[in-house]
Amino acid sequence: MADFVALFLTDLVLGLLLGCVLAVIAHGLNIIWGVAKVVNVAHGEFIMLGAYGAYFLYLYGGFNPLLSVPIDAAIGLVVGMGFYFGFLYRELRGKESMGLQSELVTLVSTFGLSLVIVNIAQSIWEHPVGILWSPGAAQVGPVPVPFGGLYVAVVSVALIALTDLFLTRTYLGNAIRAYTQDIPATQLMGINPTVVAAVGIGMGFSVTMAGGALLTVWLPTGIDPTKIGILYAPISFVIVVLGGPGKMWGSLVGGLTIGLIINVGQLFLGGSIALATAVAVLTLIPILLFRPEGILR
């Protein structure tokens, strides 16, 4: 019994820590959806690129994943703005809102982009690669708390808090929130809709790639281009829907929920992470049925 309690507590703590990093990788998707009503099907591929960013910074600069976060974030900002001008601008320009036609165009074009990235990645990076960084663990009672996961969780929550502060406390951030509600009215406030959309989407990619860097700490078998997108994109979608699309703290609520279900759940499912992940995804059904606006009000 005492063993079980120790296991349970350990999985609880690991679930919360994992939940934080899942939250931050989903957060980028949440921002892009929240700002532009664009579902970025290539989300998983940008998580992967963020992870590779951290890997190359480690390989050539000796950076640990935490130090790569600001650099990945800066690259992501530029990449996101490029994505906006390359893929969305022509479709969204002059539109008062996102129509079905534009939604399909963005779905198809981000899907195409995702295929391109994943195929190039698989052809140039044939084997999984890893970052060697183990800052150790602290023993708290029966529970070992890995410092790597702890730092990652702190940075993840801080990133979400920063985006929330930016969106609620600054002129530009509030302009982004206004843009998502009523584009023509935003223009009447003297706000350039192109700038606001580019910054908002840049911010989404910035968080996504920073999340990819943080995720590397949680990838014991390394960065595998055949796996990252396929696994973490669907989890991100689930988290965003759970927490409530467009709600900044919804990412954290959704991420913690999924992290807990996966880690604590597998304890009751014969240790099967795959089964626990399936259960985590299934929580979507009651949420969509009974609280389609997400857990957060």
């Binding site: 509600q181 023509p184 009215a185 223009q187 009447l188 406030m189 003297g190 350039n192």
Partner: protein, 235 residues
């Protein structure tokens, strides 16, 4: 101050406005009246830049602004209270007001202007932290006007400020608009509520089926018997 010259405009093939000419003079309240569907809101969209005309010119303070995008027109001092108010429903009343001060001319004086907006509409001070979507129609109109004022505009352009608000609030709103105009602000207002609008106007235009069919000082417009019948629906 603001002039339309020979404006032709419409939506995807359908022409709504034909050869519109009108002027809002500095320091005056100009009112544009006419029946539903005449093209009044479309005219204001040509002014604030949300609709680009197919012909004619928009001139503001001596500059041709016909090709200038909407957000730059706002930054130059053309403030709009659009049809249906168009508040940001998920932002608070104060959040909406503060966003009105986005452009440089408004931002520098945002705190003072906010205080003066609250003095103009004391009710908004109590409702500051309520989401705009939860405000009453009258309160929303106050926020819409206040939000426009936050940009420190040179001209205030209002589209039917009396629409959808309680009758006793309508006269209060008109009173405030008159107060602003007396304070030196140039006003251009579209209204269906012709009597009340003309009462605070210095000059009026009457629009029908996309054309300006009459103009003049308000007392002359109010006197015209046939006009009453045609546009005010009063026997």
């Amino acid at each position: 101050m603001l002039r339309l010259e020979g404006i032709t405009a419409g939506y995807e093939g359908t022409r709504v406005l034909r050869d519109i000419g009108l002027e809002a003079k500095e320091g005056m309240a100009t009112v544009l009246i006419g029946p539903n569907g005449a093209g009044k809101s479309t005219t204001l969209k040509v002014i604030n830049g949300l609709l680009h005309p197919t012909g004619g010119r928009v001139v503001f303070q001596g500059n041709d602004i016909t090709k200038i995008p909407a957000h730059e027109r706002a930054a130059r001092g053309i403030a709009s209270c659009p049809e249906g108010r168009r508040l940001f429903p998920l932002l608070t009343a104060e959040g909406n007001l503060r966003l009105g001060a986005y452009s440089p001319r408004g931002r520098a004086a945002a705190e003072e202007t906010l205080a003066s907006v609250y003095d103009l509409f004391p009710r908004l001070r109590e409702r500051a932290n309520v989401k705009a979507g939860r405000l009453s129609g009258g309160e929303q109109q106050m926020v819409a006007i206040g939000r426009a004022l936050m940009s420190k505009p040179t001209i205030l352009v209002l589209d039917e400020p009396s629409l959808g608000i309680a009758p006793k609030l309508v006269s209060e709103i008109f009173e405030k608009i008159q107060q602003l105009r007396k304070g030196g602000l140039t006003v251009l207002m579209v209204e269906q509520n012709a009597y009340q609008a003309l009462r605070i106007a210095d000059f009026g235009y009457v629009m029908q089926e996309g054309r300006i069919v009459m103009d003049g000082p308000p007392d002359r417009l109010l006197d015209l018997e046939d006009l009453r019948k045609a546009y005010f629906a009063i026997p």
